[in-house]
Structure formats: C-alpha cells, structure tokens
Symmetry: D2
Subunit: 384 residues, 4 copies
C-alpha cells in the first residue's frame, strides 16, 4: 500500500519551492502524489501556473478557487477560512495518508488546520525560520499543528525543537528550492529570450551588458504604504540605468497598491528600460536571476536561492527581517538612495561564493524518503 | 477612547471560563465589550446559552451560526473554516481593538486566525497548558498567533515563554473559572432544585444523602470508540447506587456516539437514578459540583475548578493527559472497575483542601486591567 | 462520448424519488452517472443512507457536508449557500455535461444555482407541482434556472409551460417514485421484520392485525409551532390503539421541535405501541406502507406513492396544500379529533384503487432516455 | 414601529438604479433603511463606490466581501453561495422586515435566497424583463422567490403575472434609474471636467466638439470570446475619431478578457483619444451620457436611461436581447463595420424624443410608499 501524499500548490513561489520534492514523491515507489492546485495558481492575473505544473508531468487531483477579491486584510482572513472548508471536502474525498504544507502562506495554514482536525498527519516544509509580518505567526502556528518537520536550515531545526516539538519528528533536509538552484548553478546559460518566451509588457532591452531582477511584494501589516514603498524601488532601479526584469507581486493584501504605483510611474513615461513579467518556469527564473547583476526587492529568493547562486541581493524593508542570510545580501530601508548605494557596492563585488546555508541541493529526495519511512503517528504533545 | 474588546462565546464551558473576565471588561472604564455569540451557544440541542448570557446582563453584539452537522472530523475542520470567514466579516464591522479568545476549541482557533490576519491583536486566555488530543495542537498554535497571553498557571506561563513568546506579553492571571469557584466556596449552599430549575430527563432523586456529577466528552482523535468508552462510565456510576447528575457532551466529533451509548443504556431500563441535563448557569453548576461526593468523566472542571473547590474527581482516559492537577484527582482508564475503585477511595477521603494551582479567584479583573493597559503592538517574532 | 450526468442525493426521500432514474442512467449506454452524496444523506442522526446507496450498486463520485447545525431558518439559508460553494468546486472537478436536480429542497436549489452559473445544463425532476411553504418558491425558482423539465404530472407540465418555459424542453415523465411503487404493488408481501432489520427504539408489536405508518415533517414557515403540531398527531395515533411505525423527520428548520415533542410524550410513558425508525431502504419502506391500514402525517408519500399503492392517507396541515391528490387522501388540520375521524373513515373503506396521477411506473427509463437524446442548449428565454 | 428595509448595494450600476428608492425609503416616516454594501462596491479595482454612498448621506449598516477571485463561471457560482451564507448572518443580526433586491445579478439572487429561506419578505425591483444570458434565468428565479414586485415597464409587469404571481403583489413603478434621468434632463449642463474630477488614465481631450461614451461588459455565457468581442468595439470607436469616455467592465466572469483586450490595444499605441474611468457618481455619469453624441456597448443604460434622455445608443451583441427598447437604439453584432455604420446613422439623427417606456421619474417614491403600505405576507403560491 503506497502512502498517499496530498500537497497543495497555490502560487508561483510555493511551487518552485516544493517542485523537487513533488518529483521525488512522484518517483518514490512507496508514495503516491495527490496534487491540489488552488488559489492564485489558477488565476490568469497572477500567471496561471497550472499549465507549468502539467507540463512538468504532474497530474492535478483537484482544483479549487479560494481567493476572495479585495486583497486586503479582511479578505486574507476569509480566504484562509474558505481554504479550510474546501480542503476538508477535498481531503475527505482523496483520503490522503499525509498532507505536505509549505512555508507560511494562508494556504499553508488552511491545509494544516484542515488536516490536523481530520487526524491526517501534517508534514511542514520550511518551518522554524524567523521573519517579519504575519508570515512569522502563521509559520510557527503551522509548526504547532504539524507532525513532521522538514526545516531548511540547522538554526530553523533548532528553533522548532525549542518550541517543544519531538526531536524524532524534526529532519533538517535543506530547502527544495536549493535543489533547483544547484541545477542552475551547474548549467547557468541563459539560453532563452525572456521577452519572446514569456511576453509581458514593457521594453525588450539588450541583456548582454547586464540587467537587474526586481520582485517586491506587499508587506501585509503595512498595506496602505505599499504604494509609497514601491516608489523608492522604482526610482532607484530607473537610476541604475540597467534593464530591469520586473515581476508582479503575489496576490496579497497590498498588492493593488504596488500594481497601482507601478502603473502610475509608467503612465508618466518613466521606467523605459523596465519589462514586466507575471511568471516564469522556476528554472528559467533562476537562470535569469543567476545571470543578473543583482536581485532587488523583498522576495526571499534573494536570501534563499541566491545564497547558493551567489547573486548579489538588495533586500528592502523588513519583510525578511530575522531570516538567516549569507554575504550576498545587503539590507536597506525603503529609500531610493540606499537602494542605489547597495547596488553600487554589489556591482563592485560581483558574484559571491556558493553558500550551503539553505541546503546542499538534495532536499527533495530527502523529504520523499522521510515521508515514506517516518512514523505517521497523530498524537503529539509539547516536550516540556 | 475606550478600547473595544471583542470576545466570542460559543459553548457552555467556555462561557463559564471567561464570564468573570467579561464582567470585568464590561465594568472597566477604559474598555468596551463586544460580545459575539456563536456555534453551539445558539443551539437548543446543547442548551442554548444565549439566554443565560443575556440574563447575566451582557448585550450581544453579533450572533453567527458556524457549526456544520456531522460531528465528525471533517465537519470540525469545516466549522473552523466557516468560523474564520464569518468572524472576519463581523470583526470588519465591529472594528475591535483587541480580540479575546479562550482555551483551545475550534472557535478559539477561528477567532485567532481571523484576527491575526486582520492585524487585530489577539489575547489568549488559558494558553500554555498541556493535554491530549487535537486541543493540544490548537492551543499552542493559538499561542503562536496571539499577542497577549493570560495563562492560568505558573507552569503554563513558563511553557509559553519557552515556546518563544516575549516575556513582556505573558501575564499569569489565574483562570477566570476559579473566580466563580471562589464565590461558590464562600457561599456553597445548594439552594435550588436542579430538577425544578433545569428540567432535563430521568429520575428526580433525593439528593440529601449524596450524589455524583458526570460529564464525559468525546475524545476527538478516537471518536469511533466514544460509545464503548461511555459504557464503562455508565456501568460504574450505576454500580455506585448514588443519584447521578449527568451532563450531555459538547458538540464535537464523537458526541453522537456518546449520546447513543447513553440512550441505549436507558432503553434497557438501566440508569434508574440518572438524571440528564443539557446545561446550567455556571454558578448553579459549580454549587452542584461542590456539594457532590465526586465528579466523574473527563471534563477539565474536575481538575481545574475542583482543585479550588476540593471536590473529589475521577478523571477517565487521556483527554486531560498532561494537564497539571492537584490531590483531588484520581486518574483511571476506560474501565468500570477502576472507576468504581477510585470512587471508593474518594468517598473514604471526602473533600480535599483548597489549592490555588489554577488561580486565586482574581483572574477576571486582572485580565481586564491588562487589556486596558497593555501595549497592543502587532509585530512579533519568536524570541530565539 | 457518453454524457456525464451529475446528481446530488441528499436525503432519504430524495433518494427514493430518483433511484430508478439513477439506475436507468447508470445502465444507459450513452450516459455516465456521477453521484454526489451530500447533506443529511451522510449524517448518522438521519439514517446515513450512503450505505444503502452503495449497496444498490452505485459508486459515489464525491461526498460533501453542507448542513449547518441549528435547524432553523437562518441555517437553512446558510446550508443553501454552502451547498452552492461546495458543489461549484465539485462540478469544476467532475465536469458534468448535465446536472439532474430533484424536487424542491435547499440542495435542489443549490445544485441548480451552481450549475446555471457554470453554464452546465440543469435537468429538473418533479418541477411544476403546487404546494405550501418555502418549497413552493424554491421549486418554481429552480424551474426558471433549469434547461430540461421532467414533471411528474400533466398539470405540473402545463404549469411549467405557463411559467414561460419552452415546450421543447418539457417532458411529462411521471415520478420515479412511482416506478418503485409499481414494483411493490406487484410483489407486496412484507417478508421482513422491520424491528429486526432496522432496529430503532420503542415497542416491537405484532403487526398481523394491522398498523399505521407516521411521517410528519416540520413546516418551515411555522417552525415554532412544530412541537404543538406533533402533539395532535401523537394523541390521535395513540387513540387508534394500533401499532405505529413512526419515522423521524428530515433535517430541517423545526425538526428539533418535533423530536422534542415526541421525546416528552414518551417520557410520560405514552405511545406504548409506537416504534421509531430513522430510515429504511425505499422498497422496504413502501412495502411497509402498502401493508399498513393508513399513512398519517404530512409526507408527500401519502399523496404521491400512495395514489398508486391505494394506501389510505391522512394528510395533516398545509405542507402539501395545492398538491394534486387522488381519492386515497383525506386532509385534516392539526387536530387530534379530526385525525381520528379521518382514520375511522379510511379504516371503513380499506385500500383504494390504483391511480396513475403521478405516473405509470416508467419514469426512470424515460428520464434517462431524454438525458441521452435531448438537446442540451444553454441559452433560454421566457417564451412571452 | 417603522418597517426595517434592508437593501444590498454591490456595484456601480445597481447603486444608480436604486438610489432614488433608497432616498425615498430613508425619508419615509414609516421606514428605516438598512444599507448593506458588498461585493465589488467595496473593491478599489472597480471604483470603490462606498465613498459615493456615504457622500450621498447613507449610513452603512454592514459591509461584506463576497467576490471570489477568478472572474470565471466557477467563481460566479461560488460568490453567489458565499453571498447567501454571509447575508443570512447579516439578516439574522439586522432583523429586517423586508429585503429589497435589484435586477438580476448574483448578489440579487443571493439576497433573495437568503431572505426567502429566512421568511423575510423579498421585494424585487426590475423583475419581469427579458434579456439574454444567465441574467435572464436569475431574474425570473428571483421573481419566483419574491413577495413584492416593482417592475419598470408595463410589459414586465404583465410577464410577472403570466409567470403566476398574485396581481395584488405586482406594482409597475417605473425604474428608479429614470428618476435620475429626469433630474439630468431638467438640468443637463456638463459643469465638471470628467478628467479632473475622476482621474482615470488616457488622454484628456477637448469635449466641446462631441464625444462618445463606451461601456461594454463581458457576456457570461461566452466569456472566452470576451477579448475578441471588445476588439471590434475598440476598432470602431477609434475609427470615429471622437474622444471616447470609456468605462471598465463590472466584476464578472469574462471581465479579465475585456481588460486585457483594452490593455493590449493601448500597448500598441492605439486608442489615442480614449480615456478610461472606473466609476462616476450616477448623476455625473448621466450628464456625461446626455451630452455625448452616442453611447456604445452593451450596458442597459443605452436602452433604459437613454430612452428617457434621448441619447443615441449602439447596442452590441445579445446581452440586451429581448429587452424592450425605444427608437434611440440601433442593435449591431460584434462587428466594427456595423458599429461604425450605426454611429453614422445616429450622428445624422442627433438626440431622440423623450420616451416614458421605463418610467416617468417617480419610481423611488412609489417603491417606498408600497414598501410602507403593502401587506408583507410570506405565504405564496403560483396562481394557476
């Protein structure tokens, strides 16, 4: 009897961060993958990623819409509730033996709550990290609901233990995103034109003399300032005079503010070297990042994948506050001047050395193996 | 500007355990109470407690149905999700400054998730305790979502700190349920007839020669065994030959099994001295418990309020496993023989000494004072 | 390519009323049945009928909990809303070519709304009838949402046309419940003991000298009076001095009132010849009805199936007001005296002649054939 | 005791079409208005109209998010379900005596279903009309759920009667939108600059030499073609060489297709004389329409308000198929050539004569008066 492993993929970054684990689960003789595609992964507006998922050879077991329009604090809460309701029905019909949930998004919490109440063991990937905002609360709440823990770093694993989890259930696997980074680092050539392959809007510049990548998400607890925050980045990136490969933010409270800030900047005829993308296949995206002169914004990619890739990162604001980082990261506030200074410093340095902080590139197979062999007991208690 | 304090009351025990805090909030010059009545508190079948709430002088700010029929694991998950969705709308309309959530039920989690995503500070009463079942996970998950912590015991407070909460946010207040126990211990006479005042079904025995109180809830992670578990209790209580004041279980996965076990026992003409109640006003209930020869089952009342009251308690099964207890508690498995032996031992001992393990009877005013004066910051991070 | 036909079964009576159509769909070479089991069909408390469904050889494509606890007017509305949300996800995953919805319950409306918005053609069985209460509104609203109409009677079909539906979409098929009645009328012997086969509570009387069947549901728009209404029936049935085979009511606003009325009557030691059942397989139930001296209450079985069976029916109150009826029905108000008088008159008459008012026993195959051959166009407009 | 009248406002057009009735209800001595703001009325992306509502002097009794992201057929169904669930809670807390629901959107159906199940009388404004698409089904389903009918036209009223509604409940009041049109026709000067007052994006042309207004919504049952349909309009409007005041479509399945079609057209540097608005106050909008040379698209404004205003309308496609229309309307398919020909014909004709087809401008006060005086009985039955 193969163990049935249900996983929910909901957004561009969470797919990239679990993809090698999904592949390893799919290929494992003792496991059967049940892939649920939900939320913004189904939405055109955020780059319907279900097509990439299917192209990668995964079969979709169920699809479900759970995102409430509004992109504000109220609708984030409601989407979580709706996710729990719908996932409970889906789990009841799929009858998984274990549910894998990734990181700290509202779908992560929704999966964990639904499974925990249904006595389905929960395996949590990327727990124990320390950051800012609501993600911090959600991540640790999921740890307390989960049965198995697959943290990315040694520190994260220790933090999970200190929170009272049983050492027999905590396995430091590294992050599956680093598995992809390893593949890219071995074979880094940018063999495709991002403009031709992914369309998007804006200028199709010559990339051969260098470019930057920008990815800045709204900060949930400060969503009204989203628009003014993005303006500092817009100014600084334009001042660099390099082509910018700019990615639209996740569906989240505050993303309307960011989108509007960008649109108004462009209406004024500014940002002439910017090109905007919704989405890319994870490997293409990492190649684009690898070959860039820097990644700018507040995505954890700059800290996580780029620690392995060595790409310089300018990390803006406190979204990643508390997260462990390597030497490739310079932290700055929402200030165009400080962003520019950080870029100058990075451009002088060039690529940084490979760092195994977030993993050695074998996380996916390790996670699959633990899912196949670990004891899936459902009773748990704080260890102190 | 008074701080608006929203609280959700959903069930008989959670009302009793927060009532003195609600009164203290209502009376505090700097606080305004927003009472939300939900879930089984609105259901006749579980003793519609909204009438007691209004009789106690509270005004209901909103009422909402969130319990899915089925009383199984799937519907517990779905009720949680529905609770989040509905509470988000209610919070959006009431605009509270802080949300108080109690203990570890699914409504507790629903309140905490909705408020956390909406950037409304969450105050958690009765966190940090250690028990069995899904409650354990939910309680600690709520701790990780919460901003202020009002644990009942010193140990619980220390556990919350070890989980990484900021010491400036943790206040050991004692449990508000002990405030009621203190009132009852000062004025313990059973001045009412439970049969006349509360109806219910079964025999109305003479209570002057002693009686027992029974309250046994389903154990969520083992719900199919609910019926066989209740049978051990039914046998042992009948064997004691004392009148039994028996309370129907909470709405929860497994409660149908218990109800059916009881009905079948009675169809056989057994349990002649049993009388069944849905509900009682908290003070009446505690007086009934105070004057009983023992409380039997798996309710935390036997451990919590009875530590202060000194009433002997027979605690069955692992529902309260890990919870701190005083000398008044004898733990037994689901065995009619062991329940009987424990009763014999308790009857020989009589009332135990008052123990301040769960508080000194001043929790409600302390909680209100902290709600009025504490810093309600919304950013938080694990302390290690 | 076989047409995929999704149908939702939610309750004891709706299953009996669609069963022969389900069988005919399953057996039709051009159709594929997608059976969704929902709502009270999954609840133990109302006689979990999913076991009968599977025993009848149907495979369940999806199961979903949609009933909110409370059994009042608010929760009926909310269950409808929840049903729409959940069924939309299920339809999105099953991708049916047509959705069959039966009669006038809230699940009927939920199916029709979900399918209509999703551009999935809706086939409505048992539309066009005229009754009292909220069912009347729901039934006709479903007619206006539906694409194909399979009314049971000639009058119902004419009513659908007068409401502006296209004659090319209206097919008077008879009611599938009559298909079962026909089987029973051909082979009516009561070859089983209802007490042994179905358990239940109450006295197991000797049935050889006659008995009555009772089935009385709450009347939604008058739910607070449910309890007093059931008392008239309890008095009259006891006065008949015949054994009574009594069925618990549907999950609906008001059913708590009925259940409580019955329990209190029994607590007083009355109704000694009553036996209470949750549920029976449809054929067994109709055999029990066929062999009874009368059916009492407000179920449409007394009017519909019994027109064919010839069993005398005492129809109480206005739940069936407006519904076409044969000579086997005597209508009475909620009065024990008038119920007794009607029974006396029926007992004097005995069985009535077979009447084809609600069909000739071939409805199921007719419906399947129309589903296979009808044009499933999705544009429609009122004909005037 | 004043009757409490709950009304849900959810979108730009439904607010404009009920505004004078809301004012008349608010001013009526025997009525109390309970205004619920929901769905896209709360969304920035569709021109958060709650600010206009409050500026117009209305107090918001409750606000609720019910729109699922996705803007496809599945999410329309789910938003309806979510609307019913949430509105049931809101009605339970507000306890209205009657619920007013307008036209044929999913919120209309959600309000009607929630209220009907809760035994709250439903008053339906703008029922009985005949159009294309899902709106047709929803409108007539609402008629079958409603207790009071306030159709706009004589024909619509007759259609409602033919559907079996009781003549004592049907009142031809005219459409409240015509009340606004009457005010505008009396005082038509365009005293504001739309660009200054409402911002928006695109060119701010000189309007003194004429301009057109464009408003084209997705057609639900054909949503994948939305994008190609809008292209015909874009081409034709550009060819007219007149400034175009263009309004973004409603939140609906298919609106993403329209938005994308528009954005791509503009990315190509076309539509140089177009200016895009999200929203306008109803009176400003009608003044803009009154002074335009034509209104183009598929909004019912062209048919309804413009019959009174006399503004030439080019009605594209079948969204308004079946709706009664005056001489000011030319119907065309999705063809840029035919749109251009219709414009030529209209420009040659100029303004048409005032037509009272949709009302005489007194609908709001009439509706309020009927709400105050009508018998609000809750039992109903089809009349045949």
């Amino acid at each position: 009897m193969r163990r049935k492993v249900a996983t929910i993929v909901t957004a561009r970054p969470s797919y990239a961060r679990i993809k090698t684990a999904l592949q390893a689960i799919q290929q494992h003789p003792d496991l059967e993958l049940q892939l649920i595609v939900a939320a913004s992964a189904l939405l055109d507006r955020y780059g319907n990623i279900v097509q990439y998922i299917e192209k990668d050879g995964f079969e979709v077991a169920a699809r479900v819409y759970i995102v409430l329009e509004g992109e504000n604090l109220v609708t984030s809460a409601k989407s979580t509730g709706l996710g729990i309701m719908e996932l409970a029905t889906i789990f009841d019909n799929l009858q998984p033996d274990v549910v894998v949930t990734v990181a700290d998004r509202y779908e992560t919490l929704a999966s964990a709550v639904a499974a925990a109440y249904m006595n389905i063991p929960v395996a949590h990937v990327q727990g124990g990290e320390k950051t800012g905002s609501i993600d911090e609360r959600v991540r640790h709440a999921v740890t307390k609901l989960a049965d198995l823990h697959f943290p990315a770093t040694k520190n994260a694993g220790e933090r999970i233990l200190r929170m009272g989890e049983d050492p027999k259930t905590v396995f430091v696997t590294g992050c599956p995103s680093i598995d992809l980074a390893k593949m890219v680092a071995k074979d880094p050539d940018l063999t495709f034109s991002p403009f031709e392959k992914y369309g998007g809007v804006g200028t199709s510049s010559d990339l051969s003399n260098g470019y930057v990548v920008v990815m800045q998400h709204p900060v949930t607890t400060q969503y009204e300032e989203s628009r003014s925050q993005i303006e500092a980045t817009l100014e600084a990136v334009e001042a660099s005079d390099l082509p910018a490969m700019w990615f639209w933010p996740n569906v989240d409270a505050g993303s309307d503010g960011i989108s509007r800030g960008i649109r108004i900047f462009r209406e004024k005829g500014r940002g002439k070297k910017f090109h905007f993308f919704k989405n890319m296949e994870p490997i293409d995206f990492l190649r684009l990042v690898y070959n860039s002169k820097a990644i700018i914004g507040n995505s954890s990619v700059g800290i996580r994948e780029c620690s392995f890739l060595g790409t310089p990162a300018v990390n803006i604001g406190d979204r990643q506050a508390g997260r462990e980082r390597g030497k490739n990261v310079i932290d700055v506030p929402y200030s165009s001047k400080e962003i520019m200074m950080a870029l100058t410093s990075h451009f002088a340095n060039g690529r940084y050395a490979q760092d195994h902080l977030y993993g050695d590139g074998m996380a996916g197979p390790r996670i699959a193996e633990h899912l196949a062999s670990a004891s899936l007991r459902v009773a748990k208690q704080v260890t102190y």
